[in-house]
Subunit: 274 residues, 3 copies
Amino acid sequence: MRQPVLTLTTDFGASDHYVGAMKGVILSICPRAQIVDICHDVTPFQIAEGAYVIAQAYECFPRNTVHVVVVDPGVGTARRPILVEAAGQYFAGPDNGVLAMVYSRASHKVRLIANDRYFRQPVSASFHGRDIFAPVAAHVAAGVPPARMGKPIADYLRPEFAQPRPSGERTWTGSILKIDRFGNVVTNFHVRDFPDLRRPQSGTDAFVCQPAAPVLTIGRRKIASLAQNYAECTPGALFLIVGSSGYLEVSMNQGSAATQIGCQTGDPVKLTLG
Amino acid sequence: MRQPVLTLTTDFGASDHYVGAMKGVILSICPRAQIVDICHDVTPFQIAEGAYVIAQAYECFPRNTVHVVVVDPGVGTARRPILVEAAGQYFAGPDNGVLAMVYSRASHKVRLIANDRYFRQPVSASFHGRDIFAPVAAHVAAGVPPARMGKPIADYLRPEFAQPRPSGERTWTGSILKIDRFGNVVTNFHVRDFPDLRRPQSGTDAFVCQPAAPVLTIGRRKIASLAQNYAECTPGALFLIVGSSGYLEVSMNQGSAATQIGCQTGDPVKLTLG
Amino acid sequence: MRQPVLTLTTDFGASDHYVGAMKGVILSICPRAQIVDICHDVTPFQIAEGAYVIAQAYECFPRNTVHVVVVDPGVGTARRPILVEAAGQYFAGPDNGVLAMVYSRASHKVRLIANDRYFRQPVSASFHGRDIFAPVAAHVAAGVPPARMGKPIADYLRPEFAQPRPSGERTWTGSILKIDRFGNVVTNFHVRDFPDLRRPQSGTDAFVCQPAAPVLTIGRRKIASLAQNYAECTPGALFLIVGSSGYLEVSMNQGSAATQIGCQTGDPVKLTLG
């Protein structure tokens, strides 16, 4: 029998007992769970960043994986707990948009989590990760039908995270989704929406950029060289690359593009296709 | 057959091979172990902080869980390795007080770890996490009776971590137990000892504070507003809340109360109940 | 049936989805895998540091463990992916030297990873951890014979990481391998090569240094006191100790030796044996 997989994505960091407490709750309910940490270092309270992280990761997981996603500045208020079914997987988290990038990629059903029989009692006002999301997810992983948790709802939050919009002749204005650990600047221009950035190939170089001369502008910097890998460029030079998630990124070989440019998550960027 | 659960709480951080080495030792002895990281970012050498972290987490774990707790500035000296049975679970760590908050909550038995047959050989002078605590815990998880490890002792260390003490009319002086990732300031005033802070309720709002007008003083700051959740207050305003572990905390909606106040772990705080 | 063990060592950090994506790929291929994080905080692009971390950890793991090691500044270039068999275990990573400290300790066989049937498709240019190393490792963990991945090669990279060399009468020049979380300065003088540093003993003090008067020089600092554990020295005083991996270290009781000295990874050190 397959071991249930349950993942955790939070802004709880690594220095407290919060993540450990959630794992204990999960294993008390579903002893066979394989618990997988996706990321606990989402910037505190940054819902859009959490939405990005889980959206990039879930597609790699097997069917029936249950994802717990807790970036939850509104914990304890009227914001609702929800359980989402999408892409053959499950997602438990607050109804604050942190699952919105999952909705936008797959057909989905959203349920209100309402059945407190599956909560850890007493439910605290400030730690629903431990008291609601972890136990509900563990019960689902253990085989409790999602319908037991609550009724489908249609009025869940679907924030429009920044999408690129046309702003001139072959020109679009987008924004920076994330600065990653290496200082790569991930923009919200995706090859799905900008197929000119991609040329499918055989073999191992699936994302190869055409010499179609894209130019990306961030502040006063213009970056025009398109690379196929991080190492082909001169150390210290900025270049564009379609990253592993399909978004256009600004990178630097063995250096931090973000530091070099001096940009941050949320900053506007401009793409012009030649 | 249930998969044994084994947790790790250390001050080893995430940038070395230390935690990985312990996991390898555990899986070599108990291949079926489900290994769970509770926290590896205890501030180096801070025994009281480690004691707080494991005490908050263990209650969420199932019976028979084996916890390895290594915050061990005295490694290699005469300080003794111990194995504790409490609350139906097991704890392996140094006898330096890091398990003292577990003792104070549950009846317990403390054994000296003395049987070097269960150690990894040769035992180094500086890494008993790998050479003593991990292998002993793994053998216990695999079913070796704790009594095999060594005899019960009574003279284990029980440091008195700061407890609030009366310091005036309806006034107590306590201290800051921990600053968490979000900047919440966790004091050592617990609702167990100060029931006036709590009013049990039905439903999801288990910890609701009465309008009994508690006032907390830290340095020159007085905080008097009691909230039921983080989000109900004005961003930037400090407030009191009974946190998810039952301790009175000072918090700020979407900001760091600790930074705002300028306080640290160990600082004194004063509570007055109106 | 034994659960396959698969470890991860990377420079991906904890704040992105990269590690989580690899775990999802592994569990999709080998659902029974026990995935173990060794370390994700290798300094970005520091191949030698990654080589050191995996070399210290792998010996603690059981036979047939599959290690994924990704410190890969050349991802997407002509640098080759390899699968190494050594010490009864397996290692998947780039052929850039990150596995070289494993070669130097055990007889080994190195295969070119060439069979793209075992890759995740499409293979990106920048995330071979997810697209090549994780899936190949997961297939090996699931029982696919290593020979299916590709042919043995002999011209894999074997960088000579700094080795101590004689530089005078009973004097050697070496370098700093790593500064650990506690500020311990790990040098590349190993008791294997400098048996004078060691005196095997019975019981728990396996590494005891002789009063053979070693003197270590870093910059203008000379450290001459040899200790057997961290706690026996005066707080604030620097001392030498043979660390848990067998390397000579400079340490300070409850303080950071590295900060006190002002030294970094790679700095030269001089050892004189009296």
